[in-house]
């Protein structure tokens, strides 16, 4: 229906001026017939009306003429007003020829026959009808079915009404309100309209190829004014109404413009879609899209992350491995064991200040006293100019019910990662081992590992346990047990009682233990013992959105750094699930409580029939009982990585196009798409390779410099890093004067590499990939510029997101000492094999450098242009 709101004289005039040919014809014919009625000697009404009794073979013309004839002027005016928009719309959709054929044919005769048949033989009456209102109802019926398909129901005052019934309402209203109107005649029109709308009468429409042939032969389009071509809608045949096929319709109209060939038959739309897709491919606007698309990828990727803490996106944790049965056994570690603990505590307190060997002598004598086999292992690592050396002591409690094929490890380091002495953890571990020795239910060996520190010692021991150690630095283990099934480390440095237990679970390089292990500890501590559990140093957690988000982000940051976070970290790369338990806070829980938690966890691990594998290895915890799994969070990192690849592809395509008209001297005809310009690959490949190989320098320097040199070195490097892009850019412009295309290619290759590395990395260490991806994402949006001011501004904006600047800012924000950060990175690199430095220096930094060089790049053409304007 035309929009009535903005009705006015000019609009009405333009509307009438735009009426298509057939509509004008029909209106004119109707008016003409009305004019004919004015004369006296030929009763047009009697001649043309549809009178059931009069219908014979010779008077069949009546079935065609009756719509043109009206009872009186009012009848005429109302019908014209109602009919004009409907016919106009119909014609614009289906073409003049089709409308002509249909309105003079089936649209008149079918309702007529229906009416006559019903009136004569069913009702036995003989009411004459005339008037164009039959067409109105017919078209209204088609329209109603169409509306019904798009919008099936209409809710009025709580009543849901099918939309196809609206013409019926009009019909009823008219039948009641307007005198001498033939409700039944209108109904016949409406019924035929419904059938047309439903597609039953499509077979009666004249064959399109015939119409097309006529149209072409007679050149109707050229000759007739206001003519609507059949081609207007190749699709607009009966029954296949455009509304029910919304998708192909616009494509068809777009694709048909200027197509040199014709398609016959209804299957042609597929070809048209392909043709228009090919056309779209060459559309220059397509090339404008990728920057927005890649920006969208980054934004969606980051926004996705912030949705994760919501209840809809995260899940409650659950125990997958049925064999674990956490918290199902009664724990007996209490009572008299407290006295044993106190005794050991005294012994351990006496050892503070002694050397590693002296401590081990004493501790070994205690453990030997349980009747266990013990052994020692020496190790020496060198990192950041320091030697990290020491001696591990370990004891194996052989399983009374096992065959020494599997083992669980209890770790207690003399110092935790903050270099506090594990004053209560060591005696607790000893007490627990003594207590475990008394039980006969162990089916797995229990290994007590006492290390001098929290990073190097466990790493040396695990490496040697799996024979993956460097024998020059780490000695082999004289005594071994079976496959390690799990490990629990105790870090109980605080004196006095505690409130809750903090589970540390991050492994080296962001690897995580199986979620079942954490769930078991949470279940045993929280559910069975009534001890609170905290994660990621969130000492207070209200399970609200903010706290969840904070927990998740802290976890991601730790994962991204990839540094070891406790004695358990070294176990995880060997596929040994491990956590560190850290009692904290001021409460009423004593060391026996944490002992019982460990006992319960060991009993659960003891139940395992196979390695923990049921639950997730890739997850983000946001509360002790809430997590998201890889399937939910991976898309955000992948989207961020994809943004680089999208830009790389876009730049590649762009580099293949002629730069502008002046650059290409050859004149091409517009009909043939310009073939890709030859790309000069050697210089861009060379530059990217050079920048990539340059990255070995910082990687080597920061991993091999002594600690005292680290900070000065870093400062120098940061300064150099600011100067490096202008220098490289200058050298590049001086030596080879690259073109814009080559700059595009440099950027394309660099972004391709970045996207590739990051998407590979996302499968290994999601958080690192996401962090680097987000920090590097501006690189995909910067571009070389002709104005030197823009270049300077962009460079200024790029500098704060350079890797050294970000490292500085992060160290300042968290208030940590830069030297210690660099030292920890070097230790992680040498001791644990952390690969985060590789990602920072060999993936991120070269991408940043290449991006900065491209931003500063001055093309040969650009300089010429400047000379001309100057």
């Amino acid at each position: 229906m035309p929009n009535v709101r903005g009705f006015g004289i000019p609009r009405a005039g333009s509307y009438i001026n735009r009426l298509p040919l057939f509509t004008r014809g029909v209106l004119a014919a109707i008016v003409l017939f009305e004019a004919l009625c004015l004369q006296r000697w030929w009763d047009v009404r009697a001649w043309g009306a549809l009178v059931p009794e009069e219908i014979e073979f010779a008077t069949l013309y009546r079935t065609n003429t009756y719509p043109f004839i009206h009872l009186n002027v009012f009848h005429l005016v109302f019908n014209l007003l109602a009919l004009t928009p409907m016919v106009e719309r119909f014609e614009n959709e289906y073409g003049t020829l089709t409308s002509l054929a249909l309105f003079l044919g089936p649209f008149s005769t079918f309702p007529a026959f229906l009416y006559v048949g019903m009136e004569k033989w069913v009702f036995g009456l003989n009411t004459a009808v005339m008037g164009a209102s039959i067409w109105f109802f017919l078209l209204a019926g088609i329209e109603a079915i169409r509306t019904y398909r798009a919008n099936p129901r209409l809710v009025i005052a709580g009543q849901s009404i099918p939309t196809w019934t609206t013409p019926l309402a009009i019909l009823l209203a008219i039948a009641v309100l307007v005198p001498s109107s033939s409700g039944f005649g209108h109904l016949c029109g409406l019924v035929v309209g419904y059938m047309c709308g439903l597609g039953y009468l499509k077979y009666l429409a004249p064959p399109e190829w015939a119409l097309r042939w006529i149209e072409k032969k007679l050149n109707l389009l050229g000759r007739l004014p206001h003519y609507v071509s059949v081609d207007q809608k190749t699709y607009g045949r009966f029954g296949v109404l455009p509304l029910s096929n919304l998708t192909p319709a616009p494509v068809v109209s777009a694709g048909l413009v200027g197509m040199p060939y014709e398609f016959i038959g209804s299957d042609s739309w597929l070809i048209l879609v392909i043709a228009s897709a090919l056309r779209l491919r060459r559309d220059p606007r397509i090339l404008k899209l990728p920057p927005y698309l890649s920006l969208l990828c980054v934004l969606v990727g980051v926004a996705w992350l912030f949705l994760l803490p919501l209840n809809e996106y995260s899940r409650r944790t659950y125990i997958s491995e049925n064999a674990l049965l956490p918290g199902q056994v009664h724990t007996y570690f209490s009572g008299s064991d407290q006295n044993v603990f106190r005794a050991y505590k005294h012994e351990v307190d006496a050892l503070v200040g002694k050397t590693n060997t002296e401590r081990n002598d004493k501790l070994e004598s205690i453990v030997k006293g349980f009747g266990l086999k013990t052994a020692r292992q020496n190790f020496t690592y060198q990192a950041a100019g320091h030697f990290y050396s020491g001696e591990n002591l370990y004891a194996i409690l052989q399983a009374p019910r096992g065959d020494a094929t599997e083992a669980i490890v209890l770790v207690a380091a003399w110092e935790n990662v903050k270099h506090e002495i594990n004053r209560k953890g060591i005696p607790l571990a000893l007490t627990l081992l003594r207590y475990f020795k008394r039980w006969s239910l162990w089916s797995k060996d229990i290994i007590l590992l006492l290390t001098p520190d929290s990073i190097a010692g466990p790493q040396a021991w695990v490496d040697a346990y799996h024979d993956a150690h460097d024998p020059f630095r780490v000695s082999s283990l004289p005594l071994k047990s079976g496959l390690l099934q799990g490990a629990i480390a105790i870090d109980y440095a605080q004196e006095g009682r505690f409130e809750s237990v903090h589970i540390v679970y991050d492994g080296v390089n962001g690897q995580l233990p199986n979620l079942d292990l954490i769930n078991s500890v949470v279940n045993i501590a929280g559910g069975q013992m009534g001890i609170g559990v905290a994660l990621q140093e969130m000492w207070r957690h209200n399970d609200g959105y903010k706290d969840r988000l904070r927990t998740m982000l802290r976890g991601m940051l730790k994962q991204g750094l990839g540094l070891p976070s406790g004695p358990h970290s070294s176990f995880i790369p060997y596929h040994v699930d491990a956590v560190t338990l850290q009692p904290f806070g001021d409460g009423w829980q004593d060391e026996m409580a944490i002992g019982r938690v460990i006992e319960g966890t060991f009993r659960s691990l003891n139940n395992l029939l196979e390695h923990l594998h049921q639950s997730f290895f890739f997850y983000l915890l946001m509360h002790r009982e809430r997590f998201v799994s890889i399937g939910t969070y991976l898309p955000s990192a992948m989207l961020v990585a994809a943004n680089f690849t999208i830009m790389a592809i876009a730049l590649w395509v762009k580099s293949g196009q002629p730069e502008d008209e002046s650059a290409t001297s050859t004149v091409r005809t517009d009909t043939i798409p310009a073939p890709a310009v030859e790309r000069d690959l050697f210089l861009p490949l060379g530059v990217v390779t050079f920048i990539q190989s340059l990255s070995i320098v910082p990687l080597y320097l920061f991993n091999h410099a002594p600690e005292s040199m680290l900070t000065p070195l870093f400062a120098t490097f940061t300064l150099l890093n600011i100067l490096l892009p202008p220098l490289l850019s200058h050298l590049l412009t001086q030596s080879s004067a690259p073109t814009l295309q080559q700059y595009h290619l440099i950027k394309s290759f660099s972004l391709l590499l970045l996207g590739m590395f990051l998407s590979s990395l996302a499968t290994l260490n999601f958080s690192l990939a996401l962090i680097v991806g987000v920090l590097a994402s501006p690189l995909s949006l910067v571009r070389p510029s002709r104005s030197s001011a823009t270049r300077a501004v962009t460079t200024l904006l790029l500098n704060p997101i350079s890797p050294p600047a970000v490292l500085l800012a992060a160290a300042a924000y968290w208030g940590t000492d830069l030297t210690s950060v660099l030292r920890e990175a070097a230790v992680g690199w040498h001791v644990c094999g952390t690969y985060s430095p590789v990602v920072v220096w060999c993936v991120w930094w070269p991408a940043w450098l290449a991006g900065s060089v491209v931003v500063l790049g001055r093309t040969a053409d650009g300089d010429e242009g400047k000379v001309k304007t100057a």
Binding site: I672, L752, S759, L764
Partner: protein, 425 residues
């Protein structure tokens, strides 16, 4: 003919630097060779250096090298490697041998490039042939291809096959059918599958015969070549029999390739398929897979009759995808041949996509293998999925190269269509 005129210094440049690079990696990074030798992407059951050492140990202790079912390589490797000083005490000699083999391959490639066969064969001259890279560039691209370097460092024995194939082609283009056939026999003896290269190679030899002693009759020429190959192979088999003292080696070397009895993962498409296969269908699908592999030979040879070197290149690409035990060494051989077609590069349509797919697969492959084998957080499907991508990248390259070459031929036939868009169906 850039390389022919080049000064000795220029010629030696890439060889010396490639040798120095390899020696430097082998000596300065002592852990790397063993790491690469263990990678499934480089070492397959039929080319692994570790397995060769096992066979060598057995051979030196007068036990049949095929006992224990670890060694699946040609018997003549054993006397060759026992002639060298022991690998454990003097690894440098083994390194030098592998480096020399790489350099010999590069030399053969250089000669192929300088012959200009890729641009203008006996029956077809490309209108674009002027635009090509010299032998210098092509040899350097081969020598410094990371895949080639990794294969050399990983000491896979497929480098010998690569060398033999390249020499066979080099001999063929320089009009020495005898040498070509002998080299191809060696390649076939070492790896069996190069035998499928025989039809296009015979055509290449036939086209490039020296005019003074050319054989006109194609059939006679082919028969001579075939009998020559058969003769050389017979001699090699007889020598192998003398070395090992039994015919067992046939089953353990070629039999393994034919029946895929060792299902160690590799970058190919066979292993996963045959792990999943029910035993009753195994022989049928083995036949189907081999038939599929060999079916390309006839079709391509006939279709691109006018450019036999193209057929050889495309077949090498197809073998690198569909062989029973492919490795990145086969890809490096294919990638070594592709730059010969510099003149049709502008006709290729998906170069960037292909490069991106191959590079993505190169990085994601080891990552997924790590997740599967070491981290335990992935499974075999991860790695297999990425080998599918790897195969997809290579098959795209094969298709695109084929399209470009055919289009080049077609534009000579129909000059009016130059530059117009066409569709491959």
């Amino acid at each position: 003919m850039d390389g022919a005129k080049a000064t000795p210094g220029r010629t030696a440049g890439p060889y010396v630097s490639a040798a120095v690079l390899r020696l430097a990696i082998l000596t300065l990074l002592p852990g790397l060779p063993d790491l690469l030798t263990g990678r499934v992407e480089i070492s397959t059951p039929v080319t692994s250096f570790k397995r060769l050492q096992e066979g060598l140990f057995l051979y030196n202790h007068n036990v049949s090298p095929y006992d224990g079912g670890v060694y699946h390589q040609a018997p003549l490797f054993l006397p060759l490697f026992s002639l060298l000083p022991s690998f454990s005490s003097f690894p440098i000699f083994t390194y030098l041998l592998y480096i020399a083999v790489d350099l010999l391959s590069a030399n053969a490639l250089w000669r192929i490039a300088d012959s200009g066969e890729a641009g203008s064969s006996a029956l077809f001259s490309s209108p674009r042939r002027e635009k090509r890279w010299s032998g210098f560039v092509i040899a350097a691209l081969f020598l410094f291809n990371p895949f080639t370097v990794a294969t050399c460092i990983g000491r896979s024995t497929s480098v010998f096959t690569t060398c033999a194939i390249l020499h066979a082609i080099a001999k063929a283009v320089s009009g020495a059918p005898f040498g070509a056939m002998v080299a191809l026999s060696f390649a076939s003896y070492l790896s069996m599958y190069p035998l499928l290269l025989l039809p296009p190679l015979i055509l290449l030899c036939y086209d490039r015969q020296r005019s003074e002693r050319a054989t006109k009759s194609g059939l006679k020429f082919a028969a001579t070549c075939l009998s020559l190959v058969a003769g050389v192979l017979a001699v090699l088999f007889q020598m192998s029999y003398l070395v090992t003292g039994s015919w067992e080696f046939l089953r353990s070397t070629y039999g393994v390739q034919l029946t895929l009895s060792d299902l160690t993962p590799n970058v190919g498409l066979w292993w996963y398929f045959f792990i999943e296969m029910f035993d009753s269908f195994r022989s049928f699908f083995l036949a189907v897979f081999w038939l599929h592999l060999s079916s390309y030979v006839g079709g391509l040879t006939v279709r691109i009759r006018r450019q036999p070197l193209v057929v050889l290149t495309l077949l090498l690409g197809i073998f690198a995808i569909f062989k029973p035990y492919p490795s990145i060494s086969d890809t490096s051989l294919f990638l070594a041949m592709v730059p010969l077609y510099r003149h049709v590069f502008p006709l290729m349509r998906h170069t960037f996509v292909i490069a991106a797919v191959i590079m993505y697969a190169t990085f994601l492959g080891p990552a997924f293998y790590h997740l599967w084998i070491y981290a335990g957080s992935g499974n075999a499907n991860f790695f297999y999925a990425i080998t599918l991508v790897w195969g997809l990248g290579q098959s795209l390259l094969v298709c695109d190269l084929m399209f470009a070459v055919l289009r080049d031929e077609w534009e000579v036939e129909r000059p009016e269509m130059v530059g117009k868009e066409i569709r491959q169906i």
